[in-house]
Amino acid sequence: MPLKQLSNLYHHSTTLQTNLMPLIEELPNTGATAAPGWAYVADTGYDPSKVAINPSGTRNRAARNGPAVSGSELSARQQKVIDQRLAELHKDGPKVAIILPESKRAKSKPTPNVKKILLSNKTFQNHVEDEEALLVLNRSQPVPRAPAPGKIPKTPASKAKRASIGGATPSTPLPATPTGSMPPPPLPATIIIPQPFTRSAESPLQTLVPDLPPPAEIEVLLSAPPLAYTAAQAGPPAEKGARRPQRHFCEICGYWGRVKCLKCAARTCGLECSRTHEESRCNKFYA
């Protein structure tokens, strides 16, 4: 109890100090990180010690809600532009119907199944949506995504923690088929936890590569059913922003995008390219 009071006292004194001091605040500013490579940015992350004292501070709330790293933050509009561009990149040429020459097979009467398949106009997106809808219907729970990536753990404790997560994965598998016609293969009742990472007693610095898991455990892993299409998608990179800042390129020549257009936020590398951009590419006439 006295300890808590002490810590409260300490907090009060620090806030008093910060209130007296001139306020220097680094605004989230994308311009500061325009140079390639590493960048020091203000840590505007969530600080519980400050929240406890000054819970109504709008600045704190903003820092708490928004992404911690300035520079990698994207507005909804920017995200929309990126999504449109990605959709464009995934496209497979213009959608023009090519009328096929008459097939020899068309003369023989196809089976009902084949007829249905041939006449289907479903795109792949439709099939993926169907699969997810059926999964939700069958399980009445959302499609679990692939486990979020984390950094490689170094300590045995975190290893053991991850091992238990890894062991638990096959126990909650997705059904191999969204139609529900196929029961998932039987799984053993016990979850096998992989051996934690060991260090040899003689020389603690020398690490040992963990042994192969027992065949029974491998068998469990191998008999797990496939994930749904969306569940197998790559997760976002770990520690985005901190370890690998977003790289920007000049949209005219492809060199580092060190200059940002004041009107449309496009990146250019220098005077020459920014002039080209303003003459021909900048489509924002208002600033």
């Binding site: 390639p36 289907s120 139609t179 963990p210 998608q233 770990a238 985005k240 060199y255």
Partner: protein, 446 residues
């Protein structure tokens, strides 16, 4: 109607067609006792319509085409999965049953080994099964994941390991393999143990050759020539000039136009576009910085050619596989995705998997891919593990070769097949369950 007693093995034909049905090309050929990539034919998996001569090219007919200008392509495979069966049927028909078909065969007397991409929605799998048996009526059929077939290849030779003492007569899948397939639609990572995929660990990066080509198309169209309607040409440019940079920053400096002393001509090259009159394919030549000035001076007297100088476009495009964030895609790069996949696998398997990373697919042909991946994997994986990355001599046909090796030993292979008779008796749902494992089960008794 009385049914004949079920005796499945009877109906298995002697001839097997191995078909790796990719989004960009079909890799197909008949199995033989001693298969090699020479037995594999590459058929463009598309229906193309030329804007010039108004002709429609189906599959291998495209080889006759001499003018790819403004050509429109329709591909039955979307994102790696067959979605348009009308188009796919026409291409298969043309390839197997046409008058001068490249792979002429009678499906009624042929077994089919067909690959599929991982994580396929079940409805699309069932569609495939139904077309194979009800429309083409193949004698017997095996559908499995393309990556799993690679385990039947001679993996020890790739890593210059000593070959096993006794070469097993029925092909045995390699014990551990981390297979990365980088194709037209996407890049997948599949850990395989004894040729069987670890399904929950399969990961997919939605960057493939198509996206790279589209990206290059945009870059060139923006900077030099409008090539938005020339996907075929841009694809050739990509194949001819692109490389994976060993050090992206250094290469970007070398290609900078304002670099002191001019651009480094070992990075910047000139690409002469084909005119489709004398040349069908473009060619590269050393960069000539004074070219534009000379063309201006000579005017109409100069050579009639279109030249595109390519600098950072050469390596910034394949760089997307390693840094998808460069175009704003919030997916991890390939080396990190390997880690994401491995994190779902017990650590005891990391060693064998990391020591046997094999790359297949068309993008692997890009120069420097293997070295870059090996370097980055080494940096991010714990140092206790050995990291070895290799690519086969022909990464495009390698999956096919694995399938052909599996099919070469008929006695074991026929146990994995499902005959048309069995399908007729048991139906598509039974078949889906039978092929759910995604890998050939050579131990199964028929």
């Amino acid at each position: 109607m009385p049914r004949a007693p079920a005796s499945s093995a009877q109906k298995v034909a002697g001839n097997t067609l191995v078909l790796d049905n990719g989004a960009y090309t079909i890799k197909a050929g008949f199995s033989s006792d001693n298969p090699s990539t020479d037995h594999c034919t590459i058929i463009p998996n598309c229906i193309a319509k030329s804007a010039r001569d108004k002709r429609i090219y189906i599959g291998s007919q495209l080889d006759q085409c001499r003018d790819f200008g403004e050509m429109i392509f329709r591909r039955p495979v979307e994102k790696g999965y067959i979605t348009n069966w009308e188009g796919q049927r026409a291409i298969w028909e043309h390839s197997f049953e046409g008058d001068n078909a490249v792979l002429k065969c009678d499906p009624h007397e042929t077994n089919l080994l067909l690959t599929e991409a991982p994580n396929c929605p079940q409805t699309l799998r069932t569609n495939t099964d139904q077309i194979v048996f009800e429309e083409f009526e193949f004698a017997a059929y095996l559908r499995c994941l393309g990556p799993s077939l690679n385990a039947y290849n001679d993996i020890p030779t790739l890593f210059a390991d000593p070959p096993p003492d006794v070469s097993p007569t029925p092909p045995v899948p390699v014990e551990a393999l981390l297979l990365i397939e980088s194709g037209y639609s996407h890049t997948t990572i599949t850990p395989l143990i004894h040729g069987r995929p670890l399904h929950p660990s399969i990961r997919r990066l939605s960057i493939g050759g198509k996206l790279l080509t589209n990206h290059l198309k945009e870059l060139i169209s923006l900077r030099h020539y409008g090539l938005m309607d020339e996907p075929h040409l841009v694809n050739q440019i990509k194949e001819d000039v692109s490389f994976v940079s060993a050090d992206f920053r250094v290469d970007l400096e070398r290609a900078w136009k304002a670099r002191p002393g001019g651009v480094d001509t070992s990075v910047v090259v000139d690409y002469v576009l084909p005119d489709y009159e004398t040349e069908v394919r473009g060619k590269t030549r050393p960069h000539d910085p004074l070219l534009q000035a000379r063309v201006k001076r000579l005017g109409a007297k100069g050579p009639r050619e279109d030249v595109v100088p390519l600098g950072n476009e050469r390596f910034a495009v394949p760089e997307l596989l390693f840094n998808p964030g460069d175009i704003g895609l919030s997916e991890a790069g390939l080396p990190e995705l390997v880690l994401q996949s491995l994190e779902t696998v017990p650590e005891g398997l990391w060693g064998p998997l990391l020591a046997n990373v094999v790359l297949v697919g068309g993008n692997v042909e890009i120069r420097g891919f293997v070295e870059r991946l090996e370097k980055e994997l080494r940096q991010i994986t714990p140092s206790e593990y050995i990291v070895r990355v290799a690519k086969p001599a022909d990464p495009i046909k390698y999956t096919w070769l694995g399938g052909a090796r599996l099919a070469s030993h008929h006695d074991t292979f026929k146990n994995t097949l499902v005959t048309k008779q069995e399908y007729d008796e048991n139906g598509p749902t039974w078949l889906a369950r039978k092929f759910a494992a995604g890998s050939p089960n050579t131990n199964a008794a028929s």
